[in-house]
Amino acid sequence: MQSANTVPYDAIVIGASAGGLDALGIFLPILDVRLPVPILIVQHISATSDSFIITYFDRLCKLKVKEAEEKEILKPGHVYFAPPDYHLLVESDKSISLSNEEKVNYSRPSIDVLFETASWAFGNRLIGIILTGANWDGAAGCELIRKSGGMVIVQDPKTASIARMPESVIERLNPDYVLPLKEIGHLINKIFFLTPTR
């Protein structure tokens, strides 16, 4: 079904907590503007924060960055952030749902909620990435992505401002890649056959 030159994945999900804004600031701008898949991000953030991170990252990135809206259909080359105080979920028709059900792993938005529902929607065509953070949110989600045949990438705990979150994934499974931030960015470009243009 899949020919050699079609892309091997349909979406990327990213989870980040403490130290995540700096990490995303290094990682996201590396991604090529031609990235043919959507990226969904849960960054743990205060329930009352405003939309500054959207403005900030949209200016910083080549890709289009926006806050996820309910019922929105995912588009390639778009980066969707979970809104503060809402879980971000993916439906089987590749549209976005938001929910304000209770916190998971003390978090709303929760990385596990995104990873789990994205894994149901995309199966083995999903890449999950865990960056810096002080808890274990996302570890269960990574396990499901792996079980479904998707790819798991973890920021090298030695390079993370807080190692706990990447470590909690490594304790549960053997990630496909454990890399510093910049190398994760270059790896993603390579996976989607995007070589730097002159």
């Binding site: 309910e70 019922k71 749902s97 938001l98 304000n100 059900e101 909620v113 529902t117 149901w120 929607a121």
Partner: protein, 283 residues
């Protein structure tokens, strides 16, 4: 006979989504609760959770229990009902009500408010406090509804953990509260019991937005963070229900991430405070 080919694009390729569709059809036929047009990702998380703690290996297995054991169905009903709420949740929203909506309501001799999906009642009582401070409570009738009998019972009792009063006090002050929040409850042991005067003009009632009909002649309908659990068709139907329930010039208040712009009913409403999803029915 013509055999029509099904469009494989619209068929779910996840067998569990098929099982959820069948489960919801079964629940509807057996108990009358209609989850068929709910978003599936959220529902699947809740169902998988119940499946895991009850030791079932598939949703179909759980479905058997749901259909034959009513008490088990009621467990699942609690799972599927979202009850995250707090007093003066999104204080800026309540501030907008105070500043933009109350002056209009003050011009009416009698006010009717429908709070749809009221859960355990925290927002209903927040509104009652606000109306009391604006001198409107004694000429207001509030109808507070939910499909979940358990949360309605809690809402009627109006007893909340005293540990939450600190957060609620902060919300209350940010929402433009004119008095002292502690005036509205009596603390006993670990509980805060809201004062009786707040309850006097509230009727709590069982009402299901999906299967039940309009509430007539409302001046304000409040329904925050319920529509996000519905698919587009059902959202549209419920917005239509609200439209039919409101008087001309009546207000519709939705959750901060909810929208009516997709809906054909959109043309009957104008935004009053767009950021806080306060709309008004056009005359």
């Amino acid at each position: 006979m013509v055999i029509q080919e099904l469009n494989s694009e619209i068929l779910p390729n996840d067998p569990q989504i098929i099982e959820i569709n069948l489960l919801f059809e079964g629940i509807f036929q057996r108990y009358g609760y209609d989850f068929r047009d709910y978003g599936k990702a959220h529902a699947k998380r809740r169902i998988m959770h119940r499946m895991a703690i009850s030791g079932f290996s598939s949703i179909s297995e759980l479905q058997h229990m749901v259909l034959y054991d009513e008490s088990f169905f009621h467990l699942l009903l609690q799972d599927l009902s979202i009850n995250t709420t707090e007093m003066f949740r999104d204080p800026e929203f309540f501030l907008s009500i105070r500043e933009q909506v109350i002056p209009v309501l003050k011009t009416y001799p009698f006010i009717k408010i429908w709070h749809a999906g009221c859960s355990t009642g925290e927002e209903v009582y927040s509104m009652a406090i606000l109306l009391q401070e604006e001198g409107l409570l004694n000429r207001t009738q509030i109808y507070a509804t939910d499909f979940n009998p358990n949360v309605l019972q809690k809402a009627k009792e109006a007893i909340y953990p005293v540990s939450q009063m600190k957060d609620y006090t902060r919300n209350y002050l940010k929402s433009g509260g004119k008095s002292s929040f502690s005036e509205y409850y009596n603390a006993r042991y670990d509980s805060a019991i809201l004062k009786k005067i707040l309850k006097e003009n509230i009727v709590f009632a069982d009402h299901n937005l999906v299967t039940d009909s309009v509430f007539g002649e409302m001046n304000l309908v409040m329904c925050r963070n319920t529509l996000i659990y519905f698919n587009k068709q059902l959202q549209d139907k419920v917005v239509g229900l609200f439209r039919d329930s409101l008087v001309s010039g009546g207000f519709l208040c939705l959750g901060s991430k909810e929208s009516i712009s997709f809906s054909p009913h959109n043309i009957y409403f104008e935004p009053i405070v767009a950021k806080h999803k306060i709309f008004r029915m056009k005359y």
